[in-house]
Homo-oligomer: 580 residues x 2
């Protein structure tokens, strides 16, 4: 059996009162930010803040983890996952095996251990829980370069995205969830005195106590693309509302969540809580562990990011739990007209190239009126726009080293297969071909520039092609009859396939209004005329909402009231206080 | 075809700006009350406030409705419900047919009419919607005696309860839901300006607009016991968040909701909105209309109060909708010790008698330690407590006229059958017999005092008897081994059968703590040592939460954030504002 971590009294530095004193200002600042929606973050985006070596420190930390067992000290160990890929070990998309092994645990031991940790955590109350969560996030933040390196070598992020989505922005999403959870739990006072006049000269007195009570065990099922960014909202929303959290990582991206769980357990133990409040459950290849855990009666919350098919399975079978999902999306962008053609093309080229189009917010379908568009450089035919996008892509990605900084690496062979399919012409004529890029440091990394396929929305076969998610560097340039037809196709795509982000380039008020109305009705965020270095795929934490819950791209919103409100319930105790 | 109401420009008095000016203070006051949980209500509990004739005015208004068609002017009329009971007409539990007929509507016409009303209502925004809802509630409030009379002669309420649960407290629950809906929709600003430093000397500007977007059509399926009190939370929460609301009343209690819908339509039309935002859908006997409506793709929200079996059906089949439920409950009360034996008995006697135990919060199981209890009048054996409760019931209900003021009338033959079964001794020995009461004004009303059956929790057959809901004047006095066993049985009953309200009489800190912990874990409100005229079955709007969502008595809470948060979603529009 695995040794279990000691469960000590809190250390002086991590005593709950100290943690509150240390983090209360940050919590209040986050509460203000989510109310005003202004730009703010306590987590710097510059690697150099985190150590003299910057990203190199992260690489060094990662190297120290490679080729060894990763220990968490959880109860119920009954096997080993990895290190060989065929036994569940991870392989870097940059072309080497991580060689890390993880303990596998018996759910029949693990789940009761999580449940046993609940009462003391529930009784600690919302403020202590928020402070402990912020300490965990601080501890994670201090090691951001290590988390970035882990993100690069599990999800294939480029270095900048790894620091952003793999570390600081994920921490932001975690803090945002903690702020929402805290706000929701403190809408009621802890206690109240209720006095009601009951007829002439008489009053009844009731003392009331309101206690936030967690739902039960919370299961977070991670993905391979953004395990931290998609995992932290559910993890921290559940933990902050009093629920123990079991993290089932994606087999291809265990490390980022293993590092997270380790730090969470460390902080919980130091603060005097049972570290088993947060546990990791890696799985053997083909085990189907998520299904078993999600349907366990003790599991009352499930956060899943990934494929629609498994989300449907969860909704069907995990009926004892509240299931939050963040799923596949087909994001559309309508190019109708622009006052800044060059800047628009540069922005588009970057948007479709960033992380090889593997973001859930990457634009896939570029809709362009068949008759062309009006620009500050005059009228541009559909074909010209596609060709000019190709030129912009060349400018951005012409140099292999620079290209890798934007593209990162392809997640796996299934993504490469999509590129190859598009390049074969099977989807439609290739407007801009993909190019194999050689990574200067990792010769085995699979890196490709985007392929742009030209389609026509008037053709049924092309409509079927564009109404399906093709995650990866595959961009569909779709000719549409008119701006109005484009707006309609955006709405249809959103309603049919789900979408997280819709874009529009237009100088027309009428087109903008039509698209705004269509997006309100279909339920998707709209971004208009983005230029410079702000892109449709980006989501500003504390300001933008990620997801709407209104279309098939999932029912979770990072973060709104609904994302936290059902993770706990309130129990009232009424004590008669006499009558006068 | 039915004529449709005109859809005029707003009248001067009901223009949205005027409505906001009229109701903003009340809305703000309600927002304060739900935050502080103090006693407050804008709706007086005294009938005389509502007219010189008090309750008599309500009776007169009701008489004017009897024996006639009730017109709403909705589209798609395709038949008539009632007036004969065998054709769906209502019969007063006080012993006469109401003789009212209602239009039946084709859902294929009605649902599109509701959907067509959505966009303008959505675009009106949260503040206008709240003001219109408050105007509707004011209009309802002004006719409280009429609503009370309707409640008496559909649900069989006694006159005081009819004014409370049938009118003013239902209005309070509606206002509470509007306040929660408004607060939730205004957590985000309507718009924000986001400025982010992007590297040295550069800043990106994004203008953002946040719009609350409703889910779709909301279906409220009413019950026969408290159609207004259980119906208004969902109706007003949905309407205030922008959703058109279709009300499917219980066949036995159409009138209270028909009156409600009529006033809502009147106010909506006066305010310049489509009255079809709120429609009524009475059904033919055996039609199963709720099933058809609940599974219509346009219906995205369902509020149901009633039986567990139909709630399970809804969760299974109405998968396109978010389903809120308020269901059967078995409420327990442990009598362990008391410092005021007489007052406790009087409070208990009233609690089990009020509305013949037909409230969802009525206590059913009185647990009493087999060895008796300590009181200010010395030790009392189990049998003595039961006998003394019988004496207290006699004192309360000895006079027929006074008894009717407390008991109201039995809802229907199924309730009488439960009394007869208990009186037969089939459940267990009868400790206090039920007595038939003759109503002084309505000789055909079926009125019964409570029967108290004595059970022993140590007997398996008795456990089965007490672990089932027996709505009506049937009280089970259950001998338990000890206070601890009583606490355990309360927890088991709550987890197995669902509960809305648990009571405890005890002077022991230890027992109180054990019961508090058990109720927190099982998820049910606890009331301790209630005396005087405040009872376990009462729920103070703006202060108490009705339901916890943690036990089988339903997933709806009147009102918490979760009750409103998912009735709308937020759509963001980001507009690039340049970079410097």
């Amino acid at each position: 059996m695995a040794r279990t971590l000691p469960h000590p009294s809190p250390t002086a530095a991590a005593a709950p009162a100290r943690l509150i004193a240390r983090h209360r200002t940050t919590l209040d600042r986050a509460l203000t930010a989510v109310r005003t929606r202004e730009h703010w973050s306590p987590y710097p985006e510059d690697t150099r803040v985190y150590g003299p070596g910057g990203a190199a420190d992260g690489e060094a930390s990662l190297r120290a983890l490679l080729g060894r067992p990763f220990e968490l000290g959880q109860p119920g160990r009954d096997g080993t996952v990895g290190p060989a890929p065929e036994r569940g070990g991870e392989r870097s998309p940059y072309g080497f095996d991580l060689g890390i092994s993880y303990a596998h645990h018996d759910p029949a031991v693990l789940l009761p251990a999580l449940a046993a940790a609940l009462p003391a955590w529930r009784d600690a109350g919302p403020e202590v829980r928020a402070a402990v969560c912020l300490e965990i996030l601080d501890r994670i933040n201090a090691r951001s370069p290590e988390f970035a390196a882990a993100a690069e070598h599990t999800s294939g992020h480029n270095p900048v995205m790894a620091l952003h989505a793999g570390a600081v922005h994920a921490q932001d999403r975690g803090l945002e969830a903690v702020a929402y959870a805290y706000a929701e739990q403190t809408r009621l006072p802890a206690s109240a005195h209720w006095r009601k006049p009951q007829g002439p000269g008489r009053t009844v007195d009731i003392h009331k106590r309101f206690t936030a009570v967690p739902r039960g065990i919370s299961l977070v099922v991670g993905n391979s693309v953004f395990p931290a960014w998609n995992g932290y909202p559910g993890l921290f929303a559940s933990l902050a509302t009093g629920n123990p959290v079991l993290v089932k990582p994606h087999p291809a991206a265990v490390l980022p969540l293993a590092l997270t769980v380790r730090l969470a357990r460390e902080v919980l133990a130091e603060a005097g809580f049972d570290p088993n409040l947060v546990c990791l459950a890696p799985e053997h290849p083909g085990e189907g562990l998520a299904r078993r855990l999600a349907t366990a009666p003790e599991v009352r919350l499930v956060d899943y990011s990934g494929r629609t098919a498994f989300a449907d399975w969860l909704h069907e079978h995990a009926r004892q739990a509240r299931v939050f999902t963040a799923l596949s999306a087909v994001n559309s962008l309508l190019v109708e007209s622009t006052g800044d053609y060059r800047d628009m093309l540069a922005n588009l080229a970057f948007s479709v190239s960033l992380y090889s189009g593997q973001l859930c917010t990457s634009p896939q379908n570029l809709l362009i009126p068949r008759g062309g568009i009006a620009t500050d450089e005059g009228h541009k035919a559909y074909e010209e726009v596609v060709a000019d996008l190709g030129t912009a892509l060349d400018a951005l990605l012409g140099d292999d080293g620079a290209a890798c900084e934007v593209l990162g690496a392809l997640l796996g062979p299934e993504v490469l297969a999509r590129v190859d399919l598009a390049m074969s012409g099977a989807l439609g004529p290739v407007g801009v071909p993909s190019r194999a890029v050689r990574h200067p440091a990792y010769p085995d990394a699979v890196v490709r520039t985007p392929v742009v396929v030209t389609l026509d929305a008037a053709r049924d076969a092309d409509r079927a092609t564009l109404l399906a998610e093709r995650l990866g560097p595959v961009c569909l340039a779709v000719a549409v009859d008119s701006a109005a037809a484009g707006v309609e196709l955006v709405a249809e795509t959103t309603k049919t396939c789900g979408a997280l982000s819709v874009g529009l380039y237009s100088v027309s008020e009428e087109v903008t209004e039509a698209m705004t109305a269509a997006c309100a009705e279909a339920g998707v965020m709209l971004s208009t005329n983005l230029m410079g270095d702000w892109y449709i795929s980006q989501s500003a934490v504390y300001s933008d909402l990620h997801g709407t819950g209104m279309n098939p791209a999932g029912n979770a919103v990072y973060s709104d009231g609904a994302f936290v409100a059902e993770r706990f319930r309130t129990v009232v105790v009424r004590r008669y206080g006499g009558a006068t």
